[in-house]
Symmetry: C2
Subunit: 127 residues, 2 copies
């Protein structure tokens, strides 16, 4: 049941997901886990984590594939595949402008993931 055989063509994290109470505060419901786990999974690869960072920290908030690809010792199709994974996880958006394709981070889901992992200092003090 842990294998995501669900199609989930495009996750709409902004729609119906409650998601927000921190993971350490209340138990994450199975449905929420099923929706958010793919996002963490998408970040669970070093290449995608760097791609996500390069996109999110880009100057104008967007990065061209032509700038992302040469940063790795990987083929173009492989980078394209990782970008598709990030896109299907709802972490980035793609837009074609003329010859080039630009990727842009979606801050909302990033905030949701960060909120899920957040720990109030009081809980940490108990250690």
């Amino acid at each position: 049941m842990s294998k995501q055989q669900a199609p989930l063509p495009l996750i709409d994290l902004n729609a119906d997901v409650p998601c927000c109470p921190p993971l350490a505060q209340s138990q994450v419901p199975a449905e929420t886990a099923a929706v958010l786990a793919p996002a963490f999974k998408a970040l669970g690869d070093p290449v995608r984590l760097r791609l996500m960072s390069m996109i999110a920290s880009a100057e104008d908030g967007e990065a061209c594939v032509c700038d992302l690809t040469p940063a790795f010792n990987l083929s173009g199709p492989t980078i394209s595949h990782h970008l598709k994974t990030l896109r299907e996880a709802g972490l980035v958006d793609a837009e074609r402008r003329g010859t080039w394709v630009y990727y842009r981070a979606r801050p909302q889901i990033l905030r949701q993931l960060a909120a899920l992992l957040s720990i109030e200092p009081a809980a940490a003090a108990t250690v």
Copy 2:
């Protein structure tokens, strides 16, 4: 190079990892990505995400395997396997007391992951 063929028996996230500047603020270095990606990967499974939440939100800060297992329609060995994955990712600690084994969350790495995903409100306003 994205395939984690590294053994990484036990990640020591608290030791030499800089890790802290948000992902959207400066590019995550390859070395940092290689160390942190497995932690996200460990959270990238619905079962492990729920296990992590059940452990982190437990009453006394710890949860017994005997309480975790019946919450899923999965065999004992499978739950044990997922707990081992969380342990090797540095997300939880295990301790045997008598007959039962108790798992405890490690707040430090959770804070590091949350910090990496954090977005200052200013950046979000640019959308």
